[in-house]
């Protein structure tokens, strides 16, 4: 009983965290929208039926699902190929390509969107959005697949080749099919990210490309139709919770292993394939970053560092000390606090989830709720729920890191759970037999085996918190804008100076995030348990 109670307590903190950051704001929006109050504007209260029977809403629902599905399909194609290449073929710079492919995901969505804009110019629309979503989520499918693929003996493929199958068929029918669980769960996670994406659709779309997230945002924050926003929010929440429940079930049945096989040089056409895939990964990583870097150095008709100098100049029309550089430091500070909170919540949560059991599975799904609830609902809900006379947290600086931590914690859990589960219990038991107590076992067994993953999780948490745009846009105080807000603000002002400053700031942000990610990533490679 004592041991079980301890495990339950582990889950309390993450659960309270999810309730406070996502469920209470959602309840606030639902209560305001669908409760007895009618919304201002005199149009009356909508119901589920009236909202869902609107043809435009139906089109938006269909288009949201369709774009997410197509983008996930593309991400799967590239991601599976990248995972196989990474695990099977040794390439000299394969590690760099692998790390670079993660950039679009970890960079702030505003930065990625701005970089894509810098490269493609003014086109907008579904095709662009789908490709960008795919590029961002390749890393999710790739790493999720590689975690499983890396423990499958290549002898299966060799046997299939000997039996007469072609290279593609051999790989597909053996290794990849055996990793089906990892492919499925990581693809479903990628699907959720594509579906709930806000920044990319907002910045690279136009009024004809509306997803549920964007529609909720418009209905809540522009039209003050909290009833319609509440209905759509609940719908999206339901869909994502169902998908995440599927992921949880799949991951439970297909735990990742921690052993890995050595990649080989491969024959000529395999090396060619690997080269193509790696080039694609490098392109995915460098296109947004290259776009903003190049554009930030263009001053008038020639090159120059003027835009970087303007990073420390005050943005006209704002009061207070809001220079672009200040927003970068503000975001970094918030992100550090948010990472700490996310790591605490995430580690506690992943410890409980990896323990198994019904409570663990419930927590696994519950922790994903902050990502399932629309950004606008969280942001606006925060204002409503915590902005009253009894509790007024709106002007507290802590609100931004808390929301960022809520978004980052599920990713920490996703990263840590497979690693924790993968620690062989035989090793832990052997340590116990050797006489090590619980804290010594933690220090000598658990910590070293999970440290690399924890470092990686910390870097990801920092990056995600740093770049959060959407929910924090509603709660951040404009006296201290976050970096994504500052970039969006600069881009909305006229003149090349402002666009240039936005590009320079975006490049600086990419440098901060990119460096932290690559450093942690390369350092973690030392451990044999990392891929």
């Amino acid at each position: 009983m004592n041991g079980r109670l301890r495990w339950w307590l582990l889950g309390v903190v993450p659960m309270l965290f999810v309730i406070a950051t996502s469920i209470i704001p959602t309840i606030a929006v639902v209560q305001r929208g669908l409760g007895s109050q009618t919304t201002s504007g005199g149009a009356g209260s909508a119901t589920f039926a009236s909202v869902l029977s609107n043809p435009r809403i139906q089109r938006i629902l269909w288009e949201s699902l369709a774009q997410a599905t197509v983008a996930t399909g593309l991400a799967m194609a590239v991601g599976i190929a990248a995972a196989w290449t990474r695990v099977r073929i040794s390439q000299r710079f394969g590690g760099w390509a692998w790390s670079l492919a993660a950039l679009p995901f970890v960079l702030p969505s505003v930065v990625t969107a701005t970089g894509v804009r810098a490269v493609v110019g003014e086109t907008s629309g579904w095709v662009l959005i789908v490709f960008v979503h795919a590029g961002i989520n390749v890393v999710i499918v790739a790493r999720g697949t590689a975690a499983r693929l890396g423990s499958i003996d290549p002898a299966f493929e060799d046997a299939a080749r000997l039996a007469g199958r072609g290279r593609l068929n051999a790989a597909w029918s053996t290794s990849i099919r055996m990793s089906a669980g990892a492919v499925a769960s990581s693809s479903l996670v990628a699907f959720v990210f594509c579906l709930t994406s806000f920044g990319i659709v907002l910045l690279l779309g136009d009024p004809t490309t509306s997803t549920v997230e964007i529609e909720i945002w418009i209905q809540a924050t522009r039209l003050t139709r909290l009833d319609v926003a509440a209905v759509l929010s609940l719908l999206q929440l339901a869909v994502v919770v169902v998908v995440m429940a599927m992921v949880s079930v799949i991951q439970r049945r297909h735990p990742a292993a921690v052993t890995s096989v050595q990649p080989r040089r491969g024959d000529r056409s395999q090396r060619l394939f690997a080269g193509v895939v790696s080039t694609l990964l490098v392109a995915i990583g460098l296109v947004p970053v290259g776009g903003i870097a190049v554009r930030s150095l263009v001053v008038g008709d020639s090159w120059g560092l003027d835009h970087y100098r303007s990073l420390v100049a005050q943005v006209p029309g704002t009061t207070g000390a809001s220079t672009p550089l200040a927003s970068l430091l503000t975001s970094a500070g918030f992100a550090v606090v948010a990472s700490i909170v996310a790591l605490v919540v995430g580690v506690l949560g992943s410890a409980m989830v990896s323990r198994g059991g019904r409570a663990g599975r419930l927590l696994d799904v519950a922790l994903f709720i902050p990502l399932a609830v629309s950004s606008a609902t969280i942001g606006f809900g925060f204002l409503i729920a915590y902005g009253g006379r009894v509790i007024d947290l709106r002007s507290s600086w802590f609100v931004v890191p808390i929301i960022e931590a809520a978004i980052a914690a599920p990713l920490v859990v996703r990263l840590m759970v497979p690693v924790i589960r993968g620690v062989p219990t035989t090793v832990v038991e052997a340590a116990a037999i050797c006489g090590l107590g619980p804290s010594a076992r933690f220090r000598r067994v658990w910590a070293p085996l999970t440290a690399a993953a924890l470092g990686s999780a910390a870097a990801i948490a920092f990056a995600v918190a740093f770049g959060e745009f959407g929910a924090t846009a509603f709660v951040a105080r404009t006296a201290n804008p976050t970096l994504p807000q500052m970039i969006a603000r600069l881009l909305s002002r006229p003149g090349e100076a402002n666009v240039g400053a936005a590009m320079a700031l975006a490049t600086a942000a990419a440098a901060v995030v990119g460096v932290s990610l690559v450093v942690v990533e390369r350092a973690g490679r030392a451990s044999a348990l990392r891929l």
Binding site: I19, G42, T318, I384, Y386, I391, D392, R489, R493
Partner: protein, 353 residues
């Protein structure tokens, strides 16, 4: 042990619902102010520029510092004010315009206030019978076009709404989404006011004429407009955009490249109001009075490119030379706009997505 497990959850839920008491009786009588207020928080939209000189003079004279909190566009700022009615994030809200007027006044988020300076204003700007909104400036939302482009291509530029659906102007126009842009909403309200039941047909014709719709004014003006390097020579903007071009020109131009289609102009008045439950109500009222002072009003043209509402305020030369002044702009009836706004936006969105 079991009931205690849920205690933290219950406490949180109770305190959250306690926090949501925006229906509480309005604190219309503030307690006697014994300490003078030294700060006033001005909530507005992100394109707003505070006139520096008058603001500094105000602080020097009263000891009150003005803090600007800028939130997206006017519609978003108003939504936030409505949602936090009774416990606002600032003291004064600036930016409610004619198309949002009744949404603001019916929301209960503002306190009535009649400024001394507002008594002498023309009836055309005193649009709020409830006394909550004080007019500060006015502007005209109009279609702008690139005169040089049209002269070059030998095409007749537009001057009325109907010209925009003319086949000779196919694929040349950029309009703004009324759901995300305040001038966009004003334009849609103007079309509905002018065309009534024919509006839906007009929108279909606009769509057939390959009109492009963007989310915000700057997406249109800075990005898509040919004057600023874009691909379309007709854009929705303001009658005061030509002088703004000259002022902001990076090439030292002395003449604007844009002209205004006077038949498409609709008058827009911008208001300031005291937020109900403001922390600094006295300072809020003083700021609004100050905004109607001749010094502040004289700064409005060059800071925000709008016209002052107080008469006999001198205008800068670039304004008198280049700002278009329509003789007969469309005038919105705030009560009608209030009733029909949601339906008008829906009609637009059903046509344009």
């Amino acid at each position: 042990m079991k009931p205690f497990r849920f205690l933290p959850v219950v406490v949180l839920l109770i305190s959250a619902s306690c926090g949501n008491d925006n229906n509480a009786a309005p604190a219309s009588t503030s307690p006697a102010v014994t300490t003078p207020e030294t700060e006033v928080v001005l909530v507005t939209y992100s394109g707003y520029v505070l006139p520096e000189g008058p603001a500094k003079a105000f602080t020097a004279a009263t000891g009150i510092t003005i803090k600007v909190v800028a939130l997206d566009d006017a519609g978003a700022a108003l939504s936030r004010a409505i949602v936090s009615a009774g416990s606002p994030e600032g003291d004064v809200m600036f930016g409610v315009d004619s198309s949002l007027l009744t949404k603001a006044t019916e929301s209960g988020a503002f306190d009535p206030f009649e400024a001394d300076g507002a008594r002498g204003l023309a009836q055309t700007v005193r649009l709020d019978p409830t006394g909550q909104m004080t007019p500060i400036d006015e502007a005209n939302v109009c279609i702008n076009y690139d005169a040089a482009w049209f002269a070059d291509k030998q095409i007749t530029p537009p001057s009325t709404f109907d010209d925009l659906v003319d086949p000779t102007l196919k694929g040349l126009t950029v309009l703004l989404n009324p759901a995300t842009s305040s001038p966009g909403l004003t334009f849609v309200a103007a079309v509905n006011t002018a065309k009534g039941a024919d509006t839906s047909t007009y929108f279909d014709a606009l769509r057939a004429n390959d009109v492009s719709v963007v989310s915000s004014w700057s997406d249109g003006w800075d990005t898509r407009y040919t004057v600023n390097g874009g691909d379309r020579p007709i854009v929705l903007s303001y009658a005061s955009s030509p002088p703004a071009e000259v002022v902001y020109s990076s090439t030292g131009a002395t003449e604007p490249m844009s002209r205004v289609a006077l038949g498409t102009c609709v008058r827009q008045v911008e208001f300031a109001a005291v937020l109900r439950g403001a922390a600094h109500p006295t300072a809020a009222r003083r700021l609004i009075e100050e905004m109607l002072s001749p010094e502040w009003q004289a700064e409005l043209p060059l800071s925000n490119f709008v016209f002052p509402v107080v008469s006999d305020v001198p205008l800068p030369e670039v304004f008198t030379r280049f700002a278009a002044v329509p003789d007969d702009p469309i005038v919105l009836d705030p009560a009608v706009v209030g009733r029909e706004r949601d339906a008008w936006i829906d009609t637009w969105r059903n046509t344009f997505g």
